[in-house]
């Protein structure tokens, strides 16, 4: 099975062959490195930019103005903050020009904790991104979704922010990408660049197929009756594990992988919460004005008389950074113990 970095690579390759993707660029995105997480290795349209995030976003805007498709990368979302007005502008251009100037572009950036990345390699961006109207924002939690979401993003006529949960980039999937060869070593031998001199290396791409995950569509990853957990990205597989473990203790937990932060699948959340009557939202951006607070607000507004417990948000503590030491990181962003505790607490509430 492909890992998420390989899945992203496969999607970029498919898009440059079939979706007229012209440029994949950013810091260390082109050869020889092919991205700090290797997600752009072997991509023929990949090139290295100056270490200039504003230039990267501006360049993507200009390319999109010409109608050409591009995927621009900000190496870590921790370094995207100096582009915030450009991101705002990308989001408002179609609207302010009254439909005259669409900007079909994709920006991808690794997000979140989980690699002991310290203060400037552990940030999240989903809550910030949700305040950028005009963008679509997606975040996969497994390689197959990463492949399908990235193809949808590249084909979309609007700007799409593709958030890569960096802790999951090396995690192998449980489902095959259509056209992916059997056996981990086969794919690795075909598309992973060798260590050392790779100046003459070229990937041998498998005949992968078109596969899209529609933007705005969530997926129920665990069926349950007693609690709904809504999550995405790094915390999603942890929520699945929590649901499995609680199942053994007699608690039936439904898990929704939101996959799209905007537009989000309200109908999936609503249907599930109407069934379970209780909801816990889990993500790892900071907790104050967290995107999940909007979802919890909406649950309160629209489902108040149907729910049996106050909607709960479990997110990162509202700290200025994520400390490097494991005792600091693990107690800043949600981990399995905290998610389990929060889930049991919400389940235990009585109306």
């Amino acid at each position: 099975m492909a890992n998420m970095a390989q899945a992203i690579r496969l999607a970029l390759h498919y898009a440059e062959e079939n979706l007229e993707l012209k440029d994949v660029f950013g810091e260390d995105v082109g050869p020889p490195l092919g991205g700090v997480f290797t997600a752009t290795q072997g991509i023929k349209s990949a090139w290295n930019s100056p270490l200039d995030e504003r230039g990267i976003i501006g360049c993507a805007m200009g390319i999109a103005m010409t109608g050409d498709r591009c995927v621009a990368e900000i190496q870590f979302c921790d370094y995207i903050f100096n582009t915030i007005d450009l991101l705002k502008m990308v989001g408002n251009t179609y609207w302010t020009t009254h439909g005259r100037m669409p900007l079909p572009l994709v920006v991808m950036t690794p997000v979140g904790a989980g690699i002991r990345g310290s203060v400037y390699h552990s940030h999240s961006f989903d809550a910030w991104a949700s305040r950028l109207p005009g963008w679509k924002i997606v975040m996969p939690s497994n390689p197959k979704d990463a492949y399908g979401l990235l193809l949808s993003a590249i084909a979309d006529p609007n700007p799409v922010l593709f958030l890569k949960p960096k802790a999951l980039l090396r995690v192998k999937g449980k489902e095959m990408i259509p056209g992916e060869p059997e056996g981990d070593k086969v794919l690795k031998s075909m598309i992973d660049a060798p260590v050392g001199d790779r100046s003459n290396w070229k990937p041998k791409w498998p005949k992968i197929e078109d596969y899209r995950v529609p933007i705005g569509k969530a997926e129920v990853t665990r069926q349950g009756e007693d609690l709904t957990i809504v999550s995405y990205g790094r915390t999603l597989p942890i929520c699945n594990t929590v649901a499995d473990e609680l199942q053994d203790k007699g608690h039936s937990v439904e898990v929704i992988d939101l996959r799209s932060i905007y537009p989000y699948d309200w109908q999936a959340i609503k249907t599930s919460v109407q069934k379970t009557k209780k909801v816990l939202f889990v993500n790892e951006d900071t907790e104050v004005t967290n995107f999940a607070e909007h979802l919890a607000y909406r649950v309160g507004q629209e489902l108040f008389y149907e729910i049996y417990a106050a909607p709960r948000v479990l997110a990162a503590k509202n700290l200025p950074g994520i400390g490097l030491h494991p005792n600091l990181e693990d107690n800043t962003v949600p981990q399995k113990p905290q998610i389990t505790e929060a889930a049991l607490d919400v389940i235990g509430q009585q109306p």
């Binding site: 360049c59 200009g62 005009g134 705005g216």
Partner: protein
């Protein structure tokens, strides 16, 4: 017969002394007046209460009109891309923008094709002419220009990219980004980076903020050709612009060019929009035209009067038109009006 011969000889002799053919000089002058009358009309619209705000480019005609005349206008990589700022109306007038477009824009009419009543005066967008959206931040066009120039470079297209901004905006990082990205070895971009130096940033004087001898000098560090052009002399503005554009078309390499201009009505309506005592490029050209006997005072008066009548007529037309309805708020958040309102998810 003899008389006719004498006249031809006189015209021919006269043309040889001119820096440009007579018809080109007169066209340049005509469009500069056309652009100035538009800006003065926009100021009147603001002052009469028909607009909330004015910002524009009177005093920059010696830069803007030559640019509009010299570009390869059209859509696609093989035509020139323009990343303009909010003092760019002379360029668009020279390209053929009708007055009514600018007037509907400043009056926020639903018929405003540039923004649908959503944005400030002179914030244009003409995709059919490769004119990127004008925005209020003073620097962002310098980074977006990298992208259109890159696409033209990638496709080895015939078009080039031209970006404009003010002297104050060159302090922003995007200006440095533009210099860096335009001059990457092996990937030099066909990009004309221009600065209209009016020596003001709202109320702050150029002299108090710029230690460099000239803004154009900054290009030298990147190995790019640079030039300083006095656009208050429109003939110099035209010839200088022509040389720059021809250089970039031929060599596919960037240039940084500083155009000296005036800011005749201040920064915007926020500081009054009243005529200032600065050098006027149109008056300068008029004096030359009169000296060269290419035009009479009566003809000057008539040109202006005709454009004022045209502007007045367009204003009256726009006044009859309505503003955008509240139910259009969500239009064009996403392409094809895909729902963007979370209440309807």
């Amino acid at each position: 017969m003899a008389k006719k011969k004498k006249k031809n000889k006189s015209t021919s002799s006269h043309s040889q002394q001119l820096p440009l053919p007579k018809n080109q000089i007169l066209e340049l002058y005509d469009l500069m007046v056309k652009a100035r009358v538009l800006e003065e009309r926009l100021i009147k619209i603001y002052k009469s209460g028909d607009a909330y705000f004015w910002i524009g480019g009177p005093g920059e005609e010696g830069f803007g009109v030559p640019l509009g005349l010299l570009i390869n206008k059209g859509q696609g990589h093989n035509h020139d891309w323009l990343h303009l700022h909010y003092r760019c109306s002379p360029t668009l007038v020279a390209m053929g923008m009708p007055y009514i477009d600018a007037i509907r824009l400043i009056m926020n009419k639903a018929t405003d094709i540039n923004t649908g009543g959503r944005n400030f005066a002179n914030h244009y967008c003409y995709p059919e002419w490769n004119v990127a959206p004008v925005t209020s931040p003073i620097e962002v066009q310098y980074s977006a220009a990298i992208g259109t120039a890159w696409a033209q470079h990638r496709e080895n297209a015939n078009g080039i990219t031209i970006v404009s901004g003010g002297d104050a905006g060159t302090a922003e990082g995007d200006f440095a980004s533009c210099l860096v990205w335009a001059s990457r070895p092996g990937n030099e971009l066909p990009l004309l980076i221009t600065v209209q130096n009016n020596r003001w940033g709202i109320s702050t004087s150029y002299d108090t903020q710029h230690g460099e001898q000239s803004i154009a000098d900054r290009g030298k560090a990147f190995g790019m050709k640079t030039k300083v052009i006095n656009a208050n002399d429109p003939i110099e503005g035209y010839l200088g612009m022509k040389e720059c554009i021809e250089y970039i078309r031929k060599n596919k390499k960037p240039m940084l060019v500083e155009f000296k201009v005036s800011r005749l009505y201040g920064h915007s309506s926020a500081d009054g929009a009243n005529l200032r005592n600065e050098e006027d490029c149109i008056q300068n050209l008029e004096e030359k035209l009169l000296n060269w006997k290419l035009i009479t005072k009566e003809e000057i008066k008539n040109i202006r009067a005709n454009y004022e009548a045209e502007a007045k007529k367009a204003t009256e037309q726009a006044r009859t038109e309505g503003g955008p309805e509240a139910n259009t708020l969500w239009d064009h958040v996403y392409v094809d009006n895909e729902n963007a309102d979370w209440r309807n998810f």
